[in-house]
């Protein structure tokens, strides 16, 4: 089923560019992003570049043009340099193609081809229902961008999920390419034409992707866990030790940073969720559901896997709008630091909003089924949300509550998962201060329903 390339209501609006972007109404733009209405301004492509720091808000429009030119140029130089392997120029008498030597250019040639193939495998199945992505030139362009990024970031390289993040940028760039000036003043039209130049899309989305990755996103793609090597019998005594955060992996590379996704999942679940909805937290904990099981995909793909494209755009508006906001928002949270210049903090709160959104479902299934499968299914296949603006509002208010410290239960913990080895971190055992779940078979359905109602009525005392 082919879809229209871009619906008309996603096209660029030059008037709005003139008023809001050139007029530098950045607080209006941010406000729009946080109230799910940035789409109406139809200048998402530029707004995102500003939010992500590809373009600097404090620069003049001429400065944006200058910066864009430099970045585009830099991209083309990089891209060219990776393109040239010149194997045909290599003298087989000097460079034996079969030599395993590290310096052998043939080896990097083979490795590069392998990397390209891995990327291609995923690009061939990225948004394939859309005509835009079925075009060979789109596919080749996406492969070039991801290949260039991977070569520049060999410690991470290409990981599944990056293809989709890039694809979203591409969709936005194509939707808002400059076509006509709509009667805005000539100088404004010239600036817009340069900034949204359709011939520069590839370089522009490369830099958006790069800046996004730099906001602690690329580390999220490292393997979930790399712990100190543990003998297997430790694992089997898991029941006794009482916590389920222990993970084994004998892969010893990058010990310190490899578990970034795990730390992030733990922060969302053990800190934020516990602080904001202790009751729900304890019910989920009682089922020993490891938060990374569902949060890994939510966080890595910036929720794009859980929602359709238009909802994803709206959610990303709010996530990006909170990136790089002022110094005063660097706050200490318990022992950890929330730094809006370093990571996409809003993403954490959207995850919390999503969990709380399906709160009654979770409790319903816990009581009726008495096991974790219902919750798992729900979280791994999140239901459609009629208006994602609700999630953004919820996330915003949770963010405010955490930042102000008002209306939160400060967890008693806190094993420091941020600084210490996260794998050693245990959590507080859920106390029996919540309505216990009934034992399954013995109880009548009506009693179960009563329990559900009691639990839901007991709502956290916040």
């Amino acid at each position: 089923m082919n879809e229209e390339l871009i619906p008309a209501d996603h096209a660029l609006d030059p008037q709005s560019f003139y008023t809001h972007i050139l007029g530098k109404n950045f607080s209006t733009i941010r406000q729009a992003a946080l109230s799910a209405s940035l789409g109406k301004l139809r200048n998402r492509f530029i707004s995102w570049r500003l939010f992500l720091g590809v373009l600097n808000e404090t620069d003049s429009a001429e400065g944006w043009i200058q910066a864009s030119r430099e970045l585009r140029n830099e991209y083309h130089i990089m891209q060219e340099s990776y393109k040239k392997v010149h194997v045909q120029d290599l003298d087989p008498l000097i460079f034996n193609p079969l030599s395993q030597s590290v310096e052998n250019p043939w080896n990097s040639f083979y490795q590069d081809n392998e990397l390209k193939q891995v990327i291609k495998n995923d690009i061939d199945r990225t948004f394939q229902e859309r005509a835009l992505f079925q075009k060979e030139e789109t596919k080749e362009m996406m492969i070039r961008v991801l290949f260039t990024w991977s070569k520049n970031n060999p410690e991470i390289s290409y990981r599944q999920g990056m293809n989709e993040l890039l694809a979203v940028f591409f969709i936005v760039a194509v939707a808002e390419k400059f076509e006509k000036d709509d009667g805005i003043p000539e100088h404004a039209a010239r600036i817009l034409q340069e900034l949204n130049d359709p011939t520069q899309t590839e370089a522009d989305i490369y830099w958006m992707f790069t800046r996004l990755m730099a906001l602690s996103v690329k580390e999220l793609f490292l393997p979930v866990v790399v712990a100190k090597k543990k003998p297997i019998n430790n694992l089997l005594s898991f029941e006794k030790s009482g916590y389920h955060n222990e993970l084994v992996n004998t892969d010893k590379t990058n010990e310190a940073s490899a578990s970034v996704i795990l730390k992030r999942s733990h922060r969302i679940h053990h800190r934020f969720l516990q602080a904001l909805d202790k009751q729900l937290y304890m019910y989920i904990e009682s089922q020993k559901i490891e938060p990374q099981i569902y949060l890994q995909r939510w966080v890595r793909c910036l929720l794009s896997r859980e929602f359709n494209l238009s909802d994803t755009l709206v959610l990303w508006d709010s996530i990006f709008a909170c990136a790089h906001i002022g110094e005063e928002n660097r706050i200490e949270f318990f022992t950890g630091k929330l730094d809006f210049h370093k990571e996409l903090v809003m993403l954490d709160f959207l995850c919390i909003a999503m969990i709380i959104f399906v709160r009654s479902f979770c409790i319903f299934y816990l009581v009726l089924q008495c096991d974790a499968t219902g919750i798992m299914r729900r979280l791994l296949k999140f239901p459609p949300v009629e208006d994602v603006g609700i999630l953004i509002s919820m996330a915003n208010s949770y963010k405010e509550r955490i930042l102000s410290g008002k209306g939160v239960t400060v967890p008693k913990i806190i094993h420091d998962m941020v600084e210490d080895d996260p794998l050693r971190a245990s959590k507080p055992e859920p106390k029996a201060s919540f309505i216990p779940l009934p034992s399954p078979k013995s109880i009548k359905l009506t009693d179960k329903i009563d329990t559900i109602i009691a639990i839901l009525q007991e709502q956290s005392t916040l």
Binding site: R125, N233, E239, K381, K441
Partner: protein
């Protein structure tokens, strides 16, 4: 008759058809361009076999993830594993052996493994000699199935075989844990652990 609940994981290189096989089996759906899996998908299906019923909780993993890297209790509770390769992709077959090794060293001793040579609707592009694959699996004492998530060939049969082998391998615990079960469902994994931890000591 009791229902046995068990977790199975899908393993294999990227784009061999892990998700497609699981989806074909559970939902009878097939998408030509199934998106790449990030992390894992989770699907469940209740299977009736002559000996009883088995609820399969299928953890369908991303080809790029090492399967144990997702969560600690991820493979530990797995009663069965489905290793998939693509008959049109030599490399994916060569990796089967390393998945088997990983399972043998990391998963429970009695984990049931089956191997699927997927995309058998694309016979013309076959790169893996069928007798070679069969011989390899025979040596490993693992059942091999020719499957096509597209046509559905072999899919039902393979999961049925997996379910009934798991049932056979774990029926000992069925009665035993059934009596003690707090939950009323048979939580095979837990009783199994205690046994293992007692017997195995520090052997691995």
């Amino acid at each position: 008759m009791a229902t046995m609940e068990c977790k199975i994981v899908t393993l294999g290189e990227g784009r061999v058809g892990k998700t497609s096989l699981a989806l074909k089996y559970v939902k009878n759906e097939f998408h030509k361009d199934e998106i790449s899996t990030v992390n894992a998908n989770y699907l469940t299906k209740l299977v009736q076999i002559p000996q009883g019923s088995v609820q399969l909780n299928i953890w369908d993993t991303a080809g790029q993830e090492r399967f144990r890297a997702i969560a600690s209790n991820y493979y530990r509770q797995a009663k069965g594993a489905l290793i998939v390769y693509d008959i049109t992709d030599r490399k994916s077959f060569d990796k089967v052996v390393s998945w088997i090794k990983e399972l043998k060293s990391q998963a429970e001793k009695n984990i049931v493994i089956v191997v699927a040579g997927n995309k058998c609707d694309m016979e013309k592009e076959r790169q893996i000699n069928r007798p070679e694959a069969l011989e390899f699996c025979r040596k490993m004492q693992i059942r091999h199935f020719d499957t096509s998530a597209k046509s559905g060939n072999g899919v039902e049969e393979m999961f049925m075989e997996l379910a009934s082998q798991i049932f056979e391998a774990n029926k000992g615990e069925l009665g035993q844990s059934g009596r003690n079960s707090r939950r009323g469902k048979i939580t095979v994994e837990k009783t199994k652990h205690r046994e293992n931890s007692g017997k195995k000591g520090g052997c691995c």
